[in-house]
Point group: D2
Chain length 382, copies 4
């Protein structure tokens, strides 16, 4: 039975039928979209109203040497992009870093947060509720654990304004990015809090989490993985590989990344971290809307004994190696290129990704310092 | 001749060879990635080191009724995502809006910016340079026009701090997102300014632009298309379609979008605008890293004579219907679903996208108000 | 011996001589400034180069009823200002609140912070230093206690970016605002950290404190006293005393305080909290530059069963009842008007001040809602 | 007739009677407060409920050499403070700058703003209203001029979100800080807009102005006087006067002012500009609550050919030499010390104040770099 646009079924036949209805509605021909090299049923939990696939060209950068706590070695990293010159640029940074001995990533915090908002009677009530939450933290932890095997409630911080109370739950989510498990757990916790305190749950997300919006709280406290990475690039490699001097890089990092971003009151003190994150996120089935908080990166360059020291601070790297889009065919293949598919791999992946962000910053700052941004876009770009 | 990872050639054979090298390096099997339904040569300007494609499942929402200045009618909108429940949620919002007579989008500004940073001698020098730019604006406009047929320099605003001078060029970029043409033009303009004033160009992008970083300047002044959209949803439709009351929506918009985001000092006063933008951007070959500034949306709900008034303010919607990834096979098909492929379509597309963002906000606020966020994720999600 | 402008002596004679030198230098007559009704030696630790006094006219508001944890009763509150209509406005708010049963202030956090910045070798080093600080927290607490009787180190949180490491010390400072004792203690702690870790102290204040600058970290985490206060004003009192309806107040709080401030990306979601703080700070010998962080107040209004609920959240109220300017003659008299002079009074004072901020917000919002801002300024103002 | 606390009369007798009532109410003795060396009637428009004066000790810094456009010469600058060491510190900076040839201030913008908020029917209506304002700008300018001799409407910029419309009026206010005249004029303009468009005025201040709250819009666009100032301090003077090297100053400016403030997401990238502004504002009868926006200063240090280059960017210096508290006896004397009393002096004063802020930054950065902050507070402070 054909149901056209209203068809809610899954599977290849349903997808084809639905696509035909869209073609009919719009007059567009969707042959390439229809050419989907995997069984749509594999994506049944990833979307609704499927009509096919969009094919994003996939390249890679690397090898990049990563000297982490959770992994160590040389890695090829997949990037899906349509922005000409991006991969070439990042790749050059990878080469310079690898030749210099590699990048040093450090995960200093790893928590996923969700913050329900409650309506309370007044401030006195908000203080009672906060005290109740503190007193019942063990119970809430136990309750959270009934909803998920991998997630673990770590803390619950209350913050109030008038009749609105926000409780920011922080979870260990194992190898999943974890937004989903955290939402389900928070919903249950919030209902227990309602029951125990008379506070009225208004939304399981009170925008004090903060998901998919840039925010000071995530910048300062971190969300997902708070990762720092650095590398020292000897002057000789800076000059031969990147065609600039360490002094030029230090100056551009100062005038552009720090002072320029401060003039614009930006939450991102970097060159283009979002580019690298977006390309890896799309390649590996991460949530691309979380590039938003991922973009709040600070990149610093310093001259140290004549060489270049470069670092990135990535306060909100929200990634997983299980769940979400990671199990889709091409996405899981992309993860396996880095050896990052499945359980036990999320921290490894974070170390690799942070290293590539560092490489991307290094190379683009050099290109801009050299005045090559426009010309490389002209030569390689769209 | 095989060159493995170092292979810089384009074309299907080069892609296959390179992918084989990556397989060999990593031990991963990349069959699905290798199954790319279009000739890789079509992507030759979109990336380097291509090894295949990542296949992002594509669905759609709609029809949604759009009552714009640049378009009017009912549209199906493609979304590429791996986040279960997203499409279903947005689609419900489209239905509610359409049944209510449609969304009303308004483009109130349309400029793409690039801001080179210069090193000047001191503040007096920065003031001279700024005056020189003002005095030579016509010359700079003419110069810019030599680099692009579609772009047009509109203004140049100087802002200085100490020995750093930022000049924010604003361009009309026609139907292209335009970052590329604007960078090429700005580079030429910056060199002319160097020559005319003795200021030293440090970077064609001084982070006062601001591209791919959240920033107050883009939030306040806009970048790309500054679009507002609204709709009035009769109480009956709110209650029957969205299963909540207008009062509940007004309360959640207040406690979550406004007060919650203010508590977190977020630049995004919305529920999940980035989700909608990311899914449409990936589907249609936009630059997904620009979801970062796209995410700075303000969503308001008000009770008006018993019905629900809802609006979004999207200060930095950076999209195009030509250039970038828009001409790739599946991406151009996706654009054609909305009738937005090619010249003369960018403003139409902006109106449609803003309308879908509105729909997404409406439906997710309702789901959260009703306490359905967790359950819908459980039912439909990963 | 006369030394004119170079005179570094204290005491009345020195003050007179110095003032004469300033008169000679500038040609100005400084008779009123010279008329200082207290012995200048009393201010010897409060300033250098004293030439007399500036006389700021002092008024009062109240009585205002305060229902706090640390105090309860009706209070007269001194305000030093030159802005006509300010006192009248705030006073009206006090009357409305008192008639409604009083304001309910709550101190939810009370910590003064100082954050030295260190230069470290690299990120690995910053992590080592942070770990060292954690491991030596008890030693650091003991060390801090050697510098002050009243201050107590509570915690030390490290945050790093590249080769810069910030350690935010939080102290209980008793009844002093405490910036001074905290700086002295932090200096000693920082030197111990240098010694123990090889980190190099760059500044005892690394702007991660953050003193006298508006900042997200203070807004979110609080600094000094984080105080919330609320009151419910019956509709009848709103209408009779304030000449507006609760609905009008709710609307102005929404469009102006919340949405307006969000449009401007302000860190202050209030009407004029800084006015009240500045006037009380000057009257009572507080540090007026700390009005900066004091200004980051959120004021909410809600309609609750037909009445008006109003609240303020003051995240960084930095005040003391000992130290600083509090012991100067007129300033200590002003403190004693509130019964807040000396030890054991700082929390009481915070509760009173927060209540007056609430009153000031209430009344000014009403005046603006009624369209009386301009006319009251015309009638009473300069 | 005695009226105690309810007494609304002006004049010395009323002040005395009122003070007696406050003494009676509170049990406090207010002798010093009562000792007010000027006739209270002079302050009749500056406050209500006057009970006397608070006497803030007044010192001075300087002479400082100022090489401005509006003034040039050596100036003594009065500062009222109770923070020991502040004047000594700033004074040292003045000496270093003067010996180096002086500070170079530049006023690059001079506009006072007020932004009423209107309720509109919907976005289409907001666009109509904005168009109406554009079309009637000349009429609005004429109308504004009926309310003030000194103020002049310069522009009106509309910004909307949903049913809220903000119109940011910018005025030239001559030598007055101008908040008052601008409010009165804006009120009239707003009522004309209501009449002409059907928009409903909600508040003459919509927090898009932004007065007495820190905000990105003021930081970026400026409010009051946007002033930049710089100086070059030869290495020899840095080392002899400030006891540090230019390299140490450059490093502290980088790690503290720029990177530290970015880590805290502060709107102030400086050391303690608010201190200097507060002390001058109180001394000269400015509005001390406007130190809030004044504090958003960026201070940069650079090494230029071995010497130190230092600059400040003060985006919102809101001062006047007429109106407000400037005509009070001691305050007008303080203004006359700088030769800044009355008409034609506001720009001169801005140049002097900016120069002193520069001096204060220079000296405090040096003290902190040298590790003297704590010790100078210990020696000179409270």
């Amino acid at each position: 039975m054909r149901q056209g646009l209203k068809n809610k079924r899954k599977g290849r036949e349903a997808v084809d039928e639905r696509r035909a209805a869209v073609e009919e509605f719009s007059g567009a021909r969707l042959d390439t979209i229809g050419s989907c090299p995997f069984d749509p049923i594999l994506a049944e939990k990833n979307l609704e109203n499927m009509i096919g696939c969009v094919h994003v060209p996939l390249g890679f950068v690397g090898p990049i040497r990563v000297n982490g706590k959770w992994t160590s070695g040389d890695f090829i990293v997949p990037m899906a992009t349509t922005e000409g010159a991006l991969i070439a640029t990042v790749n050059r940074g990878c080469a310079a870093i690898t030749e210099s001995g590699g990048a040093n990533p450090h995960i200093v915090k790893d928590e996923m947060t969700r913050a329900p908002v409650f309506r309370v009677k007044d401030i006195a009530h908000s203080i009672e509720v906060a005290a109740w939450v503190d007193a019942h933290l063990d119970e809430l932890k136990a309750l959270a654990s009934t909803t998920t095997r991998h997630g673990k409630l770590l803390s619950a911080k209350a913050s109030a304004s008038g009749r609105s109370l926000y409780i920011r739950f922080a979870f260990d989510t194992g190898d999943a990015m974890g937004m989903n498990m955290v939402t389900i757990a928070s919903d249950l916790l919030a209902r227990r809090i309602e029951e125990g305190t008379g506070a009225k749950l208004i939304s399981v997300s009170g925008n004090y989490c903060v998901d998919k919006k840039p925010s000071a709280i995530d910048f300062i406290l971190g969300r997902g993985k708070l990762v720092l990475a650095d590398a020292t690039i000897p002057r000789g490699i800076v000059e031969s590989k990147l065609k600039v001097t360490p002094e030029e890089l230090t100056e551009i990092a100062y005038r552009k990344n720090l002072l320029g971003s401060s003039m614009a009151l930006s939450y991102g003190y970097n060159a283009h971290a979002a580019n690298i994150l977006a390309a890896i996120f799309i390649a590996t089935g991460q949530d691309p809307a979380q590039v938003v908080e991922g973009s709040m990166v600070t990149t610093t360059c310093e001259l140290v004994e004549g060489d270049l020291y470069i670092s990135v601070r990535i306060p909100a790297l929200e990634i997983g190696t299980v769940g979400g889009g990671t199990k889709l065919p091409s996405q899981s293949e992309a993860l396996s290129v880095m050896g990052c598919l499945g359980l036990g791999k999320a921290k490894k992946m974070a170390e690799i990704v942070a290293s590539v962000v560092l490489a991307g910053e290094l190379s683009t700052l050099a290109a801009q310092a050299k005045g090559h941004l426009a010309s490389s876009h002209k030569a390689l770009g769209r």
